[in-house]
Amino acid sequence: MTTQPTNASERMPILDASDIVRARGVARQVAGRIGFGLADQTRLATAVSELARNVVQYGDDGFCEIADLSDANEMRLGILVEDHGAGIDNIDKAMKDGYSTGGGLGAGLPGTRRLMDEFAIESEPGLTRVSIALVRKRS
């Protein structure tokens, strides 16, 4: 389930709010380069934006890794966002619409899951990892 970025990956530190803008820009660029259409580029950029914001808001010292995992049959963009903050107490709750401990809308994680084809999250104090992927058959 968890997508491990392998070759052709790009890793960016997520430390402050300007990194959110940069990360979503890179996600869009890489997606475009692989051949994803504009709608999918937007989905990916938005998903990265949500996850990167969580890192800035709740985590400490995180990073975002964007990897081209495509092969001859499919385009696959895998993204791993990791941080070393306090962790998520209750993942089930965090995945519910409208639940937030940080004064937000509580739309980030559930929204991201809806946008992506694959979504996995694990969290413990000091380490939270979210991996997502968008997959399209080559036509």
Partner: protein, 129 residues
Amino acid sequence: MKIPILRLGKILLSSIQVDLTDADAMQFQNDLVNKIAEMEALGIVIDITSLEVVDSFMARVINDTAGMARLLGAEVVICGVQPYVAMTLVEMGRDLIGVDCTFNLDQGLEIIKERIGMRGDATMIEGEG
């Protein structure tokens, strides 16, 4: 990054041309709301044609800004939502709730003027500074 807010009679016009950081977005909200109050603007048009990503935070800022403007007494229209932005927002379960949208600036201005006209203070659009 300061987003310019232009004045057209009693209407304020703003176009977001760059990808905003969260702080920029909050600054914009603050500037716009203050300017509305200061000049008692009757209408606000916000053009987001150039925004390629509207995530849940940005959607909230836009919604909130529109709500604040209305509380002050101004009409609000958002124009130029990109098709892929619309798709992504709805798929995520988000929306620009209760904010009226138009394809482009022309239509946005037209609707705003119409609305102001219906309120009976249309004369304030022309001439008055």
